[in-house]
């Protein structure tokens, strides 16, 4: 029983590592720019499908596929930013959200038109046996994902607090008008943040699909929802919080699946999020950093 619980927690951490990766990218767009980009997941899916297409046509190296996935997500992200977010900078955050949803539909349509099968295989990162720790096992890919999430988190933190770009970004977040008056090119900073988040999304997507070794059109919606949940649990706009939130969500899901069955898993996660948001404990009110 105790062993089961620990093994479940390990499985949950493995799943949570992918949530953490998604949540870190989200935190840049949602937490820093305060905008709901529903197309974040579908843009990642677009990148992953581009990589899948290359892997099917040319059987290329897995690390080349990483480049393709990042490039694809960045392209998709640029498209989203130019059409949905750049024109709606002043006010009107809902219009941007609805527009980003319209692009979500486009991304799903494009990938199913080009690759109509329901499920595609994706080459794995490496062939490794799950690590055995006594009677327990943990997938090696999960450790790679977790390490990447922490590394990205650390790098972003350095960028935000140690670089000129980070300073400009924080200025834009705190006071856009004052930032503009101080000579910061606000639209450019916002575009760059968006592209950075998309690139992180591409990396996250590549790690996730090569761990799960499959790609489906559901990846878009899945990434948006899980990333959103993990980010909110960890406290809006906090990068370490996003990682912790992702892991917490994974562990919670693993345990609710074990105790209440697979169908109750997502229900529990959403109810928890609703309660957390309405009750709003202290750690969820952090702004950023």
């Amino acid at each position: 029983m105790i062993l089961d619980l620990i093994q479940n927690s390990f499985d949950g951490l493995a799943m949570g590592a992918s949530y953490a990766l998604l949540a870190v990218g989200f935190t840049l767009v949602f937490g820093v720019l305060r905008r709901v980009n529903l197309s974040y997941g579908p843009a990642i899916m677009f990148g992953c499908y581009a990589a899948t297409w290359v892997s099917f046509s040319f059987h290329s190296n897995i690390f080349l596929l990483l480049g393709i996935a990042v490039l694809g997500s960045v392209l998709a992200g640029t498209y989203v930013e130019r059409l949905c977010f750049a024109p709606h900078h002043k006010g009107s955050a809902i219009a941007a959200m609805v527009a980003s949803f319209a692009l979500w539909m486009q991304f799903e349509e494009v990938v199913t038109l080009v690759m109509p099968k329901h499920l595609y295989d994706f080459p794995p990162m490496f062939d490794a046996e799950p690590l055995a720790i006594g009677p327990l096992s943990l997938r090696a890919e999960a450790l790679v994902m977790l390490a990447c999430a922490l590394a990205i988190c650390f790098a972003l933190h350095r960028m935000l607090y140690r670089s000129r770009f980070g300073l400009a970004l924080r200025a834009v977040t705190d006071a856009p008008v004052a930032a503009q008056l101080a000579g910061i090119n606000v639209p450019r900073v916002l575009l760059l943040v968006f592209l950075l988040a998309s690139a992180i999304g591409g990396l996250a997507g590549w790690l996730i699909v090569s761990t799960h070794t499959q790609v489906t059109p559901m990846l878009g919606m899945w990434s948006t929802l899980k990333g959103l949940l993990a980010m909110m649990i960890g406290g809006l706009g906090s990068l370490p919080g996003a990682v912790i939130g992702g892991l917490a969500l994974g562990v919670l899901e693993a345990h609710s699946q074990w105790f209440l069955g697979p169908q109750a898993r997502d229900l529990i996660a959403y109810l928890l999020l609703f309660v957390l948001l309405a009750w709003r404990p202290r750690w969820m009110t952090t702004s950023h950093g």
């Binding site: 609805v98 319209a102 979500w104 229900l267």
Partner: protein
């Protein structure tokens, strides 16, 4: 002709859904929970006519009341937060409702056939209209009576003191609070009215499609609910109807000949509409123009 009546049914139900988001948007709150209230209404009304043998009108009244009750109960905790947090909290609630119905089994044998909601399979055979010999046109007229009724009520509310209070809260919460408006009461009451309209719309939806399943009430529907009033403009209830006709009539049905490519153009046109008319089709200058042309003396208002 039945095709156009069917289309008018869809537009009517989507208008109701849009209006339920419209009244909440007037207070400046963005709710992604409207699809959840819509689902509650759909399942409640379907179960009342199919399993309890109620007539359609009392069933719709009950589904509308239930929608209002759920919205009110959700509104109190949810409306403590606003902006981005509210969007995500209501999104979480809507998805939780959808997943509840995904797991919801309640089947009763009626004349040798098992009827009622069955989890992922959905709820089939909500056959009140066909069993009572309603034609497509009658159903269509039935739906539009409700649409016109709800629009008339909202239009009247908009011009009353309550409407001014709603818009005051939407415009500037701090200013509204400082003149003695109870923010919680205003927001929760708007949410409750929205829930009643969504519950009514859901009840009608269940009966004209005869088959409902959890997947129909996802984020797609929740976003559509918001898209109608945003696309149409918050200046007047008529904007929501115009947008529902534009989206369901033109974008969904009118572009059907494009086949698989339809969704690409659909997305592009929504984005284009948002960029060209950020305040909606019927924004303030357009409304003034319409009033000047059709309004006569009242046009000055």
């Amino acid at each position: 002709m039945d095709f156009y009546f069917g289309l008018a049914q869809i537009i009517g139900v989507h208008t109701l859904l849009g209006l339920s988001a419209y009244i909440v948007l007037l207070t400046g709150q963005v709710s992604m929970a409207q699809a959840g209230f819509f689902a509650v209404g759909a399942y409640a009304a379907g179960m009342l006519t199919v399993l309890a043998g109620w007539a359609i009108l009392p069933a719709l009244a009950a589904s509308s009341l239930l929608g209002a009750a759920v919205a009110c109960a959700v509104g109190f905790p949810a409306l403590r937060v606003k902006g981005l947090m509210l969007v995500i909290a209501t999104l979480a609630f809507g998805e939780a409702v959808r997943l509840f119905f995904f797991n919801f089994d309640y089947q009763v044998a009626r004349g040798g056939v098992k009827l009622g909601p069955l989890g992922g399979e959905g709820f089939r055979q909500i056959r009140y209209f066909p069993e009572n010999g309603w034609t497509t046109m009658q159903v269509m007229l039935f739906i539009w009576i409700f649409v016109v009724l709800v629009m008339a009520i909202l239009w009247w509310l908009d011009r009353s003191r309550y409407g001014a209070v709603l818009r005051a809260v939407g415009e500037d919460e701090l200013a509204a609070q400082s003149v003695g408006i109870n923010l919680t009461a205003v927001k929760v009451s708007a949410m409750t009215i929205g829930g009643a309209i969504a519950g009514l719309g859901g009840g009608i939806y269940a009966h004209y499609t005869t088959h409902i399943e959890h997947a129909s009430f996802g984020i797609l529907l929740a976003t559509f609910a918001l898209a109608y009033p945003i696309l149409g403009g918050l200046g007047s209830v008529f904007g929501t109807v115009v947008a529902a006709i534009f989206v369901q009539g033109f974008l969904v049905e009118g572009l059907r000949f494009l086949g698989d490519w339809r969704n690409l153009l659909f997305g592009a046109l929504i984005v284009l509409a948002m960029n060209l008319r950020p305040k909606g089709f019927l924004d303030a200058p357009t409304l003034r123009w319409i009033r000047r042309v059709f309004g006569g003396k009242r046009g000055a208002a």
